[in-house]
């Protein structure tokens, strides 16, 4: 029993790292421009399909494929920002929520027409790893490792490079940073690009675990909301911890009640945290 519990917990935690990367993109965008990006899910799905297409048609190793996927994610983010978000950046929340949702509908609509909604999977296995009584697919371990690498990269970028520092300055106070000569529109576009890039990478990693369809981004978008709120909206490192908490819950809950109760627990927790501590478990009060 305990063995089983520990192995399902490990499984959940390894997944949690990847959930964390997806949520990091969402929380970065929120932190910099207080926009909730409802086009997050479709971008995750695009990341899955990008990796899939590069793997099946060009025979690229799925982990190498993540690099071009990340680059296109960044570019896509720029485009979305310029077309849909820039005009409503100072408007009430409703406008930016609906604008990003419109982008969501456009991506899903176009991709459903191209790819249909039939499930795909990346037929690439790394075998499995055994640690004592634990056995899990090696792809989970590589995925978690990739997630840690991405997080470290994001941290270094935000704290030790000029554009990263500019992003933090704009997140802190947009007007003051503009007065200091930071081109805020460009910084906002960069942050949005980074946010979608993280989503695309997370999608690519998830695609190496599970089969997926073009609609698969939706559940991960919802999980990202939960994680962002757990870790504190606008706190990218909190997102990783939030991801681990959610992954852990997904590992533990099925041991005590039917699997179908997992969403009830997740969203119940989500609403509870929003009510009790809207700044997140680790956010400043």
């Amino acid at each position: 029993m305990l063995d089983q519990l520990i192995s399902s917990l490990t499984d959940g935690l390894l997944l949690g790292f990847v959930y964390g990367v997806a949520a990091m993109g969402l929380t970065l965008i929120w932190g910099v421009m207080t926009v909730i990006n409802l086009a997050h899910g479709p971008v995750i799905a695009l990341g899955m399909f990008g990796t899939y297409l590069l793997f099946t048609h060009l025979g690229l190793n799925p982990y190498l494929a993540l690099i071009p996927v990340a680059g296109s994610g960044l570019l896509l983010g720029f485009i979305i920002y310029v077309i849909a978000v820039h005009r409503v950046i100072n408007a009430p929340h409703l406008s930016s929520l609906l604008a990003t949702f419109a982008v969501n509908m456009i991506i899903i609509g176009v991709c459903t027409a191209i790819f249909s909604t039939s499930p795909q999977n990346i037929d690439y296995s790394l075998g499995s790893v055994e640690l004592g009584f634990l056995t899990f697919p090696a792809s989970r371990l590589v995925g978690a490792f990739g997630a840690v690498l991405v997080t470290a990269g994001l941290y270094l970028f935000l704290y030790f490079t000029r554009p990263g520092k500019a992003i933090r300055a704009v997140a802190n106070n947009r007007m003051a940073s503009e007065l200091m000569g930071i081109p805020s529109s460009r910084v906002l576009a960069l942050s949005f690009g980074l946010g979608t890039m993280l989503a695309a990478v997370a999608g690519g990693l998830i695609a190496t675990f599970f089969p997926f369809t073009i609609l698969s981004g939706g559940p991960y978008e919802l999980k990202s909301f939960v994680i962002c709120v757990l870790g504190g909206l606008g706190n990218p490192l909190g997102a990783l911890v939030g991801g681990l908490i959610l992954g852990g819950l997904e590992g533990l809950v099925p041991a005590f009640m039917p699997v179908s109760w997992v969403p009830v627990v997740e969203f119940g927790l989500f609403v509870l945290v929003l009510l009790v501590r809207p700044s997140g478990l680790f956010g400043a009060k």
């Binding site: 929120w30 207080t34 909730i36 077309i83 849909a84 005009r87 409503v88 408007a91 009430p92 929340h93 409703l94 406008s95 929520l97 609906l98 604008a99 949702f101 419109a102 982008v103 969501n104 509908m105 456009i106 991506i107 899903i108 609509g109 176009v110 459903t112 027409a113 919802l222 909301f225 939960v226 709120v229 909206l233 039917p258 179908s260 109760w261 997992v262 969403p263 009830v264 969203f267 119940g268 989500f270 609403v271 929003l274 009510l275 809207p278």
Partner: protein, 322 residues
């Protein structure tokens, strides 16, 4: 001037009244079905508008009240043998009661936090109902065919349901107008513009918001019962479709938020457009993408919606388009 003397009060009502009468006189089944869907959209969009348009709070999970009310009403009809009207009211009241409980907690949140919480509530409610055995779990419930006998057979029952929906929609429009033109409504609009300032000026914001939430949750509950009674079965996937919440938002935005006429125009316009896109051979694969493009264009360039735009452009028509 008394509210009921204004042309803006009568115009939407007369339109819906005339529409319903035409359908009842012609008595064609296909016409009734399409009118049913349209009227349902009008009712749902208008009740969302009472919250969204007047207080500026975005609810992404408004369909949850449609689902919960529908489930409750349906349960009362099929398992407890209640007649349709009390069951519909029961569904509405349960929705309103849930809204009261949820509202007391969640309406403390503002802006995007509130919007996120409503998404969470929708997902939690769907997951809960899928696991709640009295409501049939994941497979849902079915109406026993004999339930339709009371209304003179299934065919007649559909007409009765249509008439009830028609009346409900008119009630929603009246309530929407009365809220907008009352002192209470002015308080709500003050909250929409600046909640802190409104509270300083003596608007009891938490109470006003909760009452509004309860009102805007009651009608989707009633409409939900009618809709699922007409369908004859109910299951979690149908009852809690997040995209229907979004469609309600699009309808309100298309017509113009904060107006009585807007949701009516927006719902009819949206459904017409959707029908056109779904059936045209050129666009049928891309209808979702095109709907997205239209939504984006509205949000970016005409945020006041069709009715709001006309009101701003032709001030003389303001009297007619509330």
């Amino acid at each position: 001037m008394k509210a009921w003397l204004k042309p803006g009060f009568w115009l939407p009502l007369v339109l819906v009244l005339g529409w319903g009468l035409v359908v009842l006189l012609l008595r064609q089944d296909t016409m009734r079905e399409s009118a049913f869907v349209l009227l349902m959209s009008v009712g749902l969009a208008s009740s969302l508008n009472i919250l969204l348009g007047y207080t500026g709070y975005v609810s992404f999970g408004h369909i949850v009240f449609f689902g919960l009310g529908g489930y409750t009403g349906f349960y009362l009809i099929s398992e407890q043998g209640w007649p349709l009207i009390p069951a519909a009211l029961g569904g509405g009241l349960l929705s309103a009661f849930i809204a009261l409980l949820v509202g007391l907690a969640v309406l403390r949140l503002r802006g995007a936090y509130f919007a996120l919480a409503t998404i969470g509530i929708n997902e939690a409610a769907r997951a809960f109902v899928s696991n709640f055995q009295p409501y049939g779990g994941a497979t849902g419930l079915f109406v026993n065919f004999s339930a339709y006998e009371k209304y003179g057979g299934a065919g007649e029952a559909l007409w009765t349901t249509f008439m009830l929906l028609w009346i409900t929609v008119m009630v929603v429009l009246v309530v929407s107008f009365l809220v907008k033109h009352s002192r209470f409504g002015l308080g709500l609009m003050a909250i929409r513009e600046d909640e802190d300032a409104a509270m300083v000026m003596g608007v009891k914001a938490p109470r006003a918001k909760t009452i509004t939430y309860v009102i805007s949750a009651f009608f989707p509950g009633v409409i939900g019962t009618l809709y699922f009674f007409k369908n004859g079965n109910i299951e979690p996937g149908d009852a809690f479709q997040l995209h229907m919440s979004i469609e309600m938002l699009v309808m309100v935005m298309l017509g113009g938020m904060g107006t009585v006429m807007g949701p009516l125009a927006g719902a009819v316009g949206y459904q017409w457009l959707r029908g056109y896109l779904l059936t045209s051979p050129l666009f049928k694969n891309l209808h979702l993408a095109l709907a997205g493009v239209i939504l984006l264009l509205i949000v970016l360039f005409v945020p006041a919606g069709a009715v709001g735009w006309v009101r701003g452009r032709f001030p003389r028509l303001k009297r007619f388009l509330e």
